[in-house]
């Protein structure tokens, strides 16, 4: 049996357990183990993706118990793709994190790495598991480590984290309650098995309740408008390295869980025609796109602006999922990948600015373009990609979403996507103008330069990655994503 599916989260879990022990011996060992763990996990994910493309999906029975009795882990196109995204962004942010954590919270160095590893293990677990209850356990592992990580930073972080904990535990509880309804209706927890048993009980009230509870719970975790209220404070007050990891990954993995459950457990036509869940997600996504963009324009704090921009970008992903046609879903999945790279890059830039100048008010960024040329070059590329200017990656995912909207014949969505690109341009060009054309007070940034190499390289690689992903998008779509969305092409039954 191929062990790759279980190796991805287990490597991360083990490194999380060894980090506190190693931290007693020598503090720096914690960082080394964390980096080794996440890099190994990246190799396993890449090997998994390669195997899935060449030889088909991998199914792994935990402890040798075949489903539906045992827990099953599965790597198919979708989960191998997501695992690779998460571990590659995770590796880059981890390289960056060392200097940033040493500056911001030096006394918590070792526990920070243990928690970061637990967070990544939880996210990878959500991705590889094919069991509904196991997904809940990993969701809570990821959330619990996120609550702790967010409270470490700023003074106001604790209250923001507490509010997120309240909403997060409601979300988790809704999800597990929904799973309970599904279990008592079908008698199984294995995703593929539930999918087989469901059609017989499609119209029962218990299944309807399950659908509503599960999607509300995951929507909260994904921060889909109007369930995004926890997000801005949390992204703003967390330490830079933490928001650099949570902002690009956490909400995207929840979005992945929604895609996984609507593709694997419920049939797409059930969620669209019988119980209109996907249209609701699409409209909420469209509302989130506009709301997030407008709120982002109103912010003066750079990190808060990025947080609201995340609300808007999550709206794109929701819109793509909600369109429930192949083009829309390709757009959503491509946007998960692109946004993970863009947002990681932007938050790392925000962290670098804080590292060198201690500022995050956009109005105080004047003249930084000359002082931090490489950091700002990476920022420019990501900003242009967020706006959706070709050859940057963001253009292509928006293009697929547009095609999906046209395919659905919904012109409101098409207009929303185009209009939001303009709004995005407004808030990013405002920053770019400050950075490059703003009148600088020479005295303020006397000793400011690009951050040290360990922080600069991940930022530049992510920035370059945005361009590379843009150029390679046709390969990603034809090799991976078209296989993933194949079930949507089947005639509606």
């Amino acid at each position: 049996m191929n062990h790759l599916p279980v190796l991805i989260p287990i490597t991360l879990l083990f490194s999380a357990f060894f980090i506190p022990l190693a931290g007693f011996v020598k503090r720096e060992l914690a960082f080394v183990i964390a980096l080794a763990g996440v890099f190994l996990s990246l190799l396993f994910s890449a090997a998994g993706l390669f195997t899935v493309i060449t030889a088909g999906e991998i199914r792994y029975h935990l402890g040798g118990w075949p489903p539906p009795v045992g827990i099953e882990y599965a790597l198919d196109g979708l989960s191998a793709f997501m695992a690779t995204v998460v571990t590659s962004v995770g590796t880059l942010v981890l390289v960056y994190s060392r200097r940033s954590i040493l500056r911001e919270v030096p006394e918590r160095f070792v526990p920070m790495y243990a928690l970061l590893m637990l967070l990544l293990a939880g996210l990878c677990g959500i991705i590889v598991t094919a069991d509904l209850f196991n997904l809940f356990v990993f969701l809570e592992i990821a959330s619990l480590s996120a609550y702790a990580l967010m409270a470490v930073g700023d003074e106001r972080g604790s209250l923001a984290s507490f509010r997120y904990l309240m909403l997060g535990s409601i979300a988790g509880s809704f999800y597990v309650l929904g799973v309970g309804f599904l279990y008592f209706s079908t008698g199984s927890l294995n995703m593929a098995d539930v999918a087989q048993l469901l059609p017989a009980v499609h119209h029962s009230r218990a299944v309807v309740a399950a659908v509503i509870l599960i999607f509300t719970g995951l929507g909260l975790k994904m921060a889909l408008f109007p369930l995004h209220l926890w997000l801005p404070d949390v992204y703003t007050y967390a330490p830079s390295a933490v928001s650099g990891l949570i902002a690009p990954l956490m909400t995207k993995v929840a979005a992945y869980a929604i895609v996984r459950i609507s593709l694997t457990v419920f049939q797409p036509h059930y969620l669209h025609d019988v119980l209109p869940v996907t249209p609701v997600i699409a409209w909420l996504g469209a509302a989130g796109i506009l709301y997030g963009s407008i709120m982002a324009i109103a912010q003066s704090d750079f990190r808060r602006m990025l947080a609201y921009s995340s609300v808007s970008q999550i709206g794109y992903i929701g819109l793509g999922i909600g369109l429930a046609n192949p083009l829309g879903l390709i757009g959503a999945l491509l946007h998960i990948l692109n946004h993970a790279f863009m947002k990681a890059c932007l938050f790392l830039v925000a962290g670098s600015i804080r590292f060198r100048t201690g500022r995050w008010e956009v109005s105080s960024f004047a003249g930084l373009g000359r002082k931090m040329p490489w950091t700002m070059a990476a920022f420019t590329v990501s900003a242009l990609s967020m706006v959706g200017i070709p050859p940057a990656a963001g253009f292509f995912s928006k293009w697929y979403l547009l095609l999906g909207g046209i395919d659905r014949g919904n012109w409101f969505f098409v207009v929303t996507i185009l209009l939001s690109s303009l709004l995005t341009a407004v808030y990013f060009f405002r920053v770019l103008e400050q950075v490059y054309a703003g009148r600088s007070e020479e005295s303020a940034f006397k000793n400011v330069s690009d951050p040290p190499a360990s922080m600069l390289f991940p930022t530049i690689i992510l920035g370059a990655g945005v361009l590379v992903l843009g150029l390679l998008n046709s390969i990603i779509v034809s090799r991976v994503l078209e296989l993933v969305v194949a079930p949507l092409n089947e005639p509606r039954g």
């Binding site: 209850f133 809940f136 356990v137 809570e140 619990l144 609550y147 702790a148 409270a151 003074e155 106001r156 604790s158 209250l159 984290s161 507490f162 904990l165 309240m166 535990s169 409601i170 988790g172 509880s173 597990v176 309650l177 309970g180 279990y183 008592f184 209706s185 079908t186 008698g187 009980v201 029962s204 009230r205 218990a206 309740a209």
Partner: protein, 123 residues
């Protein structure tokens, strides 16, 4: 296993869910919010545990009189699931209380309005 009729347990579950949700959303004291969260999660435990019961069945320990007749034992799987969920709930409560301690040390209160006011003054 199709059962969404109103019985005693479902009513209790629904009542506890509503009370817990009210505590988390409606109460202004952070500690009361944590208590609400615990009530909310307990409702879910009750829902799962009662789902495993069958009329006339006994505990799922091997009994020679029932032998391998599955209908004679209650379903142990929901209980095992809820054991995991209880661990999750304990961990969540622990993290929540730890956060409350840091909040209390900084702002000297657990009343949301007072904290927000002191936060505004300090910034």
């Amino acid at each position: 296993m199709m059962r969404f009729a109103m019985n005693y347990y479902d009513l209790m579950t629904a009542a506890l869910l509503v009370i817990g949700l009210y505590g988390m959303v409606g109460k202004r004291n952070l500690l009361k919010k944590v208590i609400g969260m615990n009530i909310f999660q307990t409702a879910i435990f009750l829902f799962f545990i009662q789902g495993g019961t069958k009329p006339g069945a006994t505990v799922p320990v091997w009994d020679p009189r029932i032998a391998s007749e599955a209908a004679g034992y209650i379903n142990p799987l929901p209980h095992v699931l809820i054991l995991t969920a209880i661990v999750v709930s304990v961990a969540t409560t622990g993290v929540a209380l730890a956060l409350l301690i840091t909040i209390y040390r900084r702002y000297g209160s657990l009343e949301e309005a007072t904290i927000l006011e002191r936060m505004r003054k300090s910034s």
